[in-house]
Amino acid sequence: MAAPMSLLVEFGGGAELLFDGIKKHQVTLPCQPEPWDIRNLLKWIKQNLLKERPELFIQGDTVRPGILVLINDADWELMGELDYKLQDQDNVVFISTLHGG
């Protein structure tokens, strides 16, 4: 049984516009039988934080192309991607890639 967990979830590069324009979310995840991983976090975000047009954020069970996921200032590819087991006080950032110049 995983204890409740506190995370700082951030959105940037325009991804925050799907979350009422709010960039920083201090989030407490409830207790659940399984450990929290990014896969579960995405589902939780979709149900609890996403305000509009979920397909612009999530496609299938992962983030849409063009969004980088950062776990404690590192690319999630270095951390196990969807399978990364979240730790209390982790910082998870979802950042839309910018193309303007």
Binding site: R64, P65, L78
Partner: protein, 282 residues
């Protein structure tokens, strides 16, 4: 690179004296800058400050590429183009301003859109490429061309009050496709006309981009290989993000690349590289 030279002229020693005294640069670094050719893809909000500081620092040759002409709505951020340049090709306007700043450099304007048929040949003529473009198809095209030509790519972007910078294809690090194997859905891409941009944000990012080009060209070396710099102007916060390494299964820079030539990037991305209104509703 341009022809190697054995020494700086007395005029060069005077002009660059304030940076020649830096032990990290010195005469050796300055000579490297003088024989380096840098291709600037896009002479807009990023390309203007970038080209300005590269020319000032003594880069030997700057290729200045942009298909667009100067409009009044550019001038809040595209600081090489004055009001009198309205309607002129940006590439020519940029070259004219840079010549007034430093007449010893070579400035080669390309008033055209980068296309898959010409990009590779062009990129091969340069040592370092700076992506200052403003759309997704061009960003894939520039990156792929840099991989095929074996050139380091310093890529920056800015929108609203945010900026991002990565050095791709440098010292065994990842390419743009390693990070973004699939293009973003066209309806999620916002350009500066729709989303807006505070002019000094590309100013800051273009200057940092110029710094990385100068560090690569002079031999100091960039630390942004496998790192992304993220900037949030509202919070005044810079973050250095550790990125993935080069991906063995990358379609263009991987161990067994499936792409060996450039492709149709507008079809790949579902958007146009030159429209003012960039999103094609498919």
């Amino acid at each position: 690179p341009l022809e190697a030279r054995a020494a700086l002229s007395p005029a060069e020693i005077l002009r660059y004296s304030r940076q020649l005294v830096l032990p990290e640069l010195g005469v050796r670094g300055q000579l490297r800058l003088s024989r380096c050719a840098v291709l600037v893809v896009g002479c807009g909000g990023l390309g203007c400050p970038l080209a300005q500081y590269l020319a000032a620092a003594g880069i030997g040759r700057l290729g200045l590429l942009d298909h667009d002409v100067v409009e009044m709505s550019n001038l809040h951020r595209q600081v090489l183009h004055g009001e009198a340049r309205e309607g002129l090709p940006k590439a020519l306007s940029a070259a004219a301003t840079l010549r007034q700043l430093n007449s010893t450099g070579q400035y080669v304007p390309y008033h055209l859109a980068l296309s898959p048929s010409t990009a590779l040949e062009l990129v091969r003529q340069y040592d370092v490429v700076a992506d200052c473009s403003d759309n997704v198809p061009t960003r894939y095209l520039v990156s792929d061309a840099c991989v095929l030509a074996g050139k380091p790519l310093v890529s920056a972007s800015a929108l609203r009050l945010e900026g991002q910078l990565v050095v791709y294809n440098y010292q065994g690090g990842p390419c743009y496709r390693c990070l973004f194997p699939k293009p973003p859905p066209a309806e999620t891409v916002t350009n500066c006309a729709d989303g807006g941009v505070l002019g000094v944000v590309p100013g800051i990012m273009g200057c940092i981009q110029a710094l990385e080009v100068l560090k690569i060209a002079s031999g100091i070396g960039s630390t942004f290989n496998q790192f992304m710099l993220m900037f949030d102007a509202l919070e005044d916060r810079f973050r250095n993000i550790k990125l993935r390494p080069k991906k063995p299964d990358c379609a263009i820079c991987g161990d067994k690349p499936t792409m060996t030539s450039l492709q149709d990037y507008e079809a790949f991305c579902g958007s146009s590289a030159t429209d003012k209104c960039r999103t094609l509703r498919l």
